[in-house]
């Protein structure tokens, strides 16, 4: 299994595509960070708001990158015709899928490491950095991994990489809808339903309660329950999807 993990890391993390993605992400982070000291409206933000904005951007970028990566992992193997050789190895389907999950995890960990200098500079002069990093790895990680697992499941169920990517992005956008709505709109109807169930909304509420409202551990845990439930659902979905991982019909 370790050789398969190494292969995934080599193919996705240290490949030319992978390193260019890291470079693009760092450029995005630099642009955003620099705007906090150069854009008139952003200079006005309090330091905690600045860090919350950066965290939202980091989580959004991480989810997008990891779902694109995850949704092409199995269907990509199928399209390239390499899935057959992979399934013929003595490794179980679950282990094959797990090695792909580790690949995505390493990818995300590198993105999170890239973000640390930016967080250091944005939390400068305060004691927010440990809280920020705790949030990143305790709430951000389960959220990003949940989306990656679901995109991997789509990639396993749907034979086309394009369709799997599209499905994953649509799922992300639906869960992220409340972020674009006003507080009044979120109080009723479909928006309220999505807002109360969305793991993305829950993660943002957790961030606010942790950093701004400084609520108790119990309240923060309760805020993050939808994220943990989403992780559980994603694990179950991927487990069932891994059993369906097979050659194309007729192969």
């Amino acid at each position: 299994m370790s050789s398969l993990i190494k292969k995934e890391i080599r193919e996705h993390v240290f490949s030319r595509k992978g390193v260019w993605i890291f470079f693009a992400v760092s450029i995005l982070f630099s642009g955003l960070t620099y705007s906090f000291i150069s854009v008139k409206e952003l200079i006005l933000l309090a330091q905690v708001e600045v860090n919350m904005t950066f965290m939202k951007a980091l989580i959004g970028i991480s989810i997008l990158v990891s779902i694109i990566l995850g949704s092409t992992m199995v269907s990509g193997e199928r399209e390239q015709g390499t899935l057959e050789s992979l399934l013929l190895t003595p490794l179980s389907k679950v282990k094959i899928i797990l090695s792909k999950v580790v690949g995505i995890l390493v990818f995300w960990l590198i993105i999170s490491v890239i973000s640390i200098p930016y967080f250091y500079s944005l939390t400068y002069g305060t004691n927010m950095l440990p809280t920020i990093l705790s949030y990143l790895y305790l709430i951000g990680l389960p959220l990003v991994i949940s989306f990656s697992l679901l995109s991997l499941a789509f990639s396993t169920w749907i034979s086309s990489s394009k369709n799997a990517t599209l499905m994953s992005i649509v799922l992300f956008l639906v869960t992220a809808i409340p972020m674009f709505l006003s507080t009044t709109m979120k109080k009723s109807g479909f928006a309220h339903l999505v807002d109360s169930l969305s793991p993305v909304s829950a993660s943002m509420l957790t961030l606010k309660d942790w950093l701004v409202n400084k609520l108790s551990f119990f309240s923060i845990f309760m805020d993050s329950v939808p994220v943990l439930c989403f992780l559980g659902i994603s694990i179950i979905c991927l487990f069932y999807a891994s059993k369906k991982m097979d050659f194309l019909g007729g192969e």
Binding site: F14, R16, V19, W20, F22, F23, S26, I27, F29, S30, G31, T33, Y34, F36, I37, K40, I43, L44, L45, A46, Q47, V50, I114, P117, Y118, Y120, S121, L122, Y124, G125, T126
Partner: protein, 179 residues
């Protein structure tokens, strides 16, 4: 004796006339004075109302007097866009009678971190003369401890380090392919 008295009288008269004209030079037709605040030292977002007094020192009434806030950014050595500070709307004084004083209230919301001089200016449609009050110091402090130099260093150095690793990775892969 009469001659001496005439000379003294002429000298005294000269003093009176000169004194009056000097007084007239010091006293403008319209005087603008900021009553409150004396100074402001606060964070961005601070809202305040500048109260100013406009006095007509002439013996004629002045019509359509426009009184407004003006600020100079002494930190950046710039003028400021008063629209950003919600202070672009002037107060109008329809008529200011001879010797009359009127008080105007001008709201402002300080938004950007810097050091400013704030003063109130009055202009009338009747004359091209513009009258301004003395300045009051305004210090708007930054509400973050973010160090711009650290941000600049991180924003430039991080992508450069990653670019260096990308190039290193590219060279390594190329060497492998050649071997």
């Amino acid at each position: 004796m009469v001659k001496k008295a005439g000379i003294i009288l002429a000298i005294l008269l000269g003093f009176v006339i000169t004194g009056q004209s000097a007084f007239a030079m010091e006293q403008p037709n319209v005087e603008v004075k900021v009553i409150s605040p004396n100074q402001v030292k606060d964070y961005p977002g601070k809202e305040t109302t500048v109260k100013a007094q406009v006095t007509n020192h002439t013996n004629q009434s002045i019509k359509d007097l426009v009184v407004y806030i003006t600020m100079t950014d002494m930190g950046k050595k710039w003028t400021v866009n008063l629209e950003d500070y919600s202070a672009d709307k002037p107060e109008q004084v329809k008529e200011l009678g001879p010797g009359e004083t009127k008080e105007v209230s001008l709201p402002i919301r300080f938004v950007y971190t810097s050091n400013y001089y704030l003063y109130v200016t009055a202009a009338s449609a009747d004359s091209l003369d513009i009258y301004s009050s003395n300045g009051i110091p305004i210090v708007i402090m930054g509400n973050t401890k973010i160090d711009p130099t650290t941000i600049q260093v991180v924003s430039i150095a991080t992508p450069l380090i990653i670019l260096f690793l990308v190039v290193l990775n590219f060279i390594k892969n190329r060497k492998k392919r050649i071997a």
